[in-house]
């Protein structure tokens, strides 16, 4: 078992504002040996300290991604744990949760341990979401207790939902007893009926098989009923429809222990993008029309949706050049998430910066239980807490005034399948500090 090392030495983040427990204040942040030592204006710079310029920037808790496909093992040509971690660091993430739909999938202690071991060498902390069922086949429960003993906190068959309601109920019940969280990719495959895009005006015009919003919503509704009945905690992945947001809002009002996430592409892109038949716009759940995009933004703003999660899904160019219906779903997300969220939610919808940090850091850290240090076997440090002396220095420094242009080949991911190619972005990640180590300085990965 690892104890993740804190970086030796002193780092001073100089200038700008800092997100503290009492809100944004103008201050410097001093990190000594991996732990925040001081948050104060005009801090003294000890000799030998690394100084990071943060003029005009905001320093806050490093982001936590609940939904990252790192592709290793099995599809290392699209992404490795190391390349994905580099992309995560560049995107401001100090922790990511690796999804289990690798090959072999993350349904055994052996494979999970291998991913955690590789993740421990990288520039972000890699946690794992274990499979709920053996082979993600939706039939027999995976060794959930054995994986939980390794510190796995989230369990999901992501890539697909658990289709059989009886299996889902049993798994939810089993997770509850272990104190781990069942997370669902909500998609009823029978209703989805092989649809590769949202069923609506665009699918009709383009002659592409569509999946209706109800394919997602039916499983959201089922799972909320099951969670309510069992008193279980449940996390719903990448919600994308009006109905899903309404169901979760109502469930929260009734006191059901549900958390939910949404992906940046579901609040920045619509299904009109598929008119080009460019498979870089193919994703699951699919891009949807304006009213769904508006509902996701509303859900993020009013607290119905707890977290922004990237669903970072690298795919090689040859697979994204396949005909639309044959190409795999998914898009890169780690390095564009902050800019998209900042532009659409803060600039576009008036969301306070504090709330954006809740969605990108504090809430996902809580959902993945990456918020409390020490008692996890793999020794993940604490993430998501607002900046204060005494906590591990997992920090991000963002520059809201920066402008940059997306180029897939310039991203750290091995794959290049961003749907935002050529798009001008508002706001960027300037520095990322992992356990006191500046892993990204001025937008450059340091290792």
């Amino acid at each position: 078992m690892h104890k993740y090392p804190l970086a030796k030495g002193t780092v001073v983040i100089r200038g700008g504002a800092v997100l503290t427990p009492t809100g944004l204040i103008d201050a410097d942040v001093v990190v000594v040996d991996g732990v925040i030592a001081a948050v104060e204006p005009n801090a003294a710079v000890p000799e030998g300290a690394t100084v990071l310029d943060a003029q005009g920037c905001i320093t806050g808790p490093g982001f936590v991604d609940l939904h990252t496909h790192l592709r290793e093992p099995g599809k290392e040509q699209a992404e490795t744990i190391a390349s994905g971690a580099r992309a995560a660091a560049l995107g401001g993430y100090t922790a990511v949760v690796a999804m289990p739909n690798t090959s072999p999938c993350l349904d055994s202690a052996f494979v999970v341990r291998a991913v955690l071991d590789l993740g421990a060498q990288t520039t972000t902390e890699v946690a794992v979401a274990g499979a709920i069922t053996v082979g993600r086949a939706g039939e027999q429960l995976a060794p959930i207790a054995e994986l939980a003993a390794l510190g796995v906190q989230l369990f999901t068959d992501d890539g697909t939902g658990v289709q059989h309601g009886g299996v889902a109920r049993r798994a939810l019940d089993y997770c509850t007893g272990l104190g781990v969280t069942y997370a669902e990719h909500c998609e009823d495959l029978a209703i989805a009926s092989g649809g590769v895009v949202h069923e609506g005006a665009w699918s009709a015009k383009l002659g592409l098989p569509g999946q209706p919003a109800s394919a997602e919503e039916a499983m959201v509704a089922r799972d909320l009923l099951l969670a309510g009945e069992l008193g279980a905690r449940i996390h719903l992945l990448h919600l994308s429809t009006v109905g899903s947001v309404e169901l979760v809002r109502a469930a929260k009002a009734k006191g059901i222990a549900v958390t939910a996430e949404a992906a940046p592409h579901h609040f920045t892109l619509t299904d009109a993008e598929i008119a080009s038949y460019d498979a870089r716009f193919k994703v699951n759940p699919p891009l949807r029309p304006d009213e769904h995009v508006a509902a996701i933004i509303e859900g993020l703003c009013d607290g119905t949706i707890d977290a922004i999660a990237t669903d970072h899904a690298p795919h090689t160019p040859e697979t994204k050049d396949l005909p639309f219906d044959e190409a795999p779903p998914g898009m890169l997300g780690l390095e564009t998430a902050f800019s998209l969220a900042y532009e659409r939610l803060v600039e576009g919808a008036g969301m306070p910066m504090e709330h954006l940090f809740d969605l990108l850091s504090t809430n996902p850290a809580r959902i993945a239980e990456l918020d409390a240090a020490g008692d996890r076997p793999y020794g993940h440090t604490a993430h998501g807490a607002r900046v204060a002396p005494g906590i591990p220095a997992n920090l991000v420094v963002v520059d809201p005034s920066a402008r940059w242009t997306v180029a897939g080949t310039a991203l750290a991911s091995l794959a290049t399948n961003t749907p935002y190619e050529g798009r001008s972005m508002h706001g960027s990640v300037r520095h990322t500090i992992l356990r006191g180590e500046p892993v990204v300085i001025s937008g450059e990965a340091q290792r």
Partner: protein, 331 residues
């Protein structure tokens, strides 16, 4: 005005459609001669790439290309490196490297010809049917066929009528609309030419939305029969799963089939088209298929002239000499 690609009827618009139909009329004249070839595309190389089986469309396109004196390369997917795992992109790049001028693509995936047009630099791409999306040459030949029939009935030269014979005509498209590329191309063609189009099918065989299509939708065929000027009958795309969308073929025939009883109720001069292949006894009764009002064999025949027109306009912009006597000299 036309081109560089023919991926959708929407690429043509009203004027482009009429231009293709008119040029097709002059090629139809050529077909009546003993020497059916013209030299319009002499020296051009046209490839057909059919990633999905087809007999009539492929033969029709290849015949059209040969009658224009183009050299024709025929890539058969069953025997090509596609079977060995070569991607659509690489297959196209290979064809491009051979120095072809145009490629005619059929693919089971909607949008594949549009992707092909993106992958290729200076090659004209013709969509010969993609998934459920479009089959533009079929839409054009259907419009050509009914215009010719209406012109003959009126005793006028079809090429002189533009789109006037379509204006106000009531066209009913019945059957498996949801999974039909012919339906989408016909809708675009007929609405552009000014006809009033109604789509008729059980709800499960209609597209999920017809927003922006400019058509009416109905769930019962019978009330529309007396008024219809043209009924376009579509096949159930059983290979695309549409069999599950109706309880049984018998019930589909009972409710939406062009039975003899329904054909009886059509008004004087009404026409029936079918893009083929027909499934007699399901969407169309055998006796109706053989009725002179049903233009199915005329459609197949006209396909060559219409495809000649489309290829000629795409590859020459309509500027090459169309001197038929030259064809005779060439012989």
């Amino acid at each position: 005005m036309i081109g560089p690609h023919l991926l959708s009827i929407a690429d043509l618009g009203h004027d482009g459609i009429v231009q293709v139909l008119n040029v097709a009329e002059s090629f139809a004249e050529v077909e009546k001669r003993t020497m059916k070839k013209v030299p319009a595309l002499k020296g051009k190389v046209i490839a057909t790439m059919f990633f999905e089986e087809s007999t009539r469309t492929r033969l029709s396109f290849e015949t059209a290309a040969k009658r224009l004196s183009a050299d024709v390369l025929s890539l058969s997917v069953a025997t090509s490196s596609v079977k060995k795992g070569e991607s659509l992109k690489d297959t196209l790049k290979t064809i491009e490297a051979l120095g072809i001028d145009a490629v005619i693509i059929r693919h089971r995936s909607s949008g594949a010809p549009l992707q092909a047009a993106r992958f290729l630099d200076d090659i004209h791409v013709v969509n010969a049917g993609d998934g459920w999306h479009e089959h533009p040459s079929q839409g054009l030949l259907d419009a050509f066929t009914v215009r010719q029939a209406w012109a003959a009935a009126a005793g006028v030269d079809p090429a002189s009528t533009g789109s006037s014979l379509f204006r106000g005509k009531k066209i009913v498209i019945v059957g498996d609309i949801a999974h039909s590329r012919v339906a989408r191309s016909e809708v675009l063609a007929y609405t552009a030419l000014g006809a009033e189009v109604t789509l008729v099918a059980p709800a499960t065989l209609l597209p999920p939305s017809v927003e922006g299509w400019g058509v009416a939708v109905a769930h019962r065929l019978d009330p529309l029969l007396e008024e219809a000027d043209l009924v376009s009958v579509l096949r159930l795309q059983a290979e695309r799963g549409s069999g599950e969308c109706v309880p049984s073929l018998r019930e589909f025939t009972e409710t939406f089939g062009m039975t003899e009883a329904r054909a009886e109720r059509l008004k004087e001069g009404a026409l029936i088209t079918h893009p083929g292949p027909m499934v007699r006894g399901v969407e169309i009764a055998s006796a109706v298929a053989d009725d002179p009002r049903c233009l199915v064999t005329t459609q197949v025949h006209n396909g060559v002239a219409v495809r000649m027109a489309a290829l000629y306009l795409l590859l020459t912009g309509g500027n090459a000499a169309l001197d038929h006597s030259e064809a005779n000299r060439d012989a």
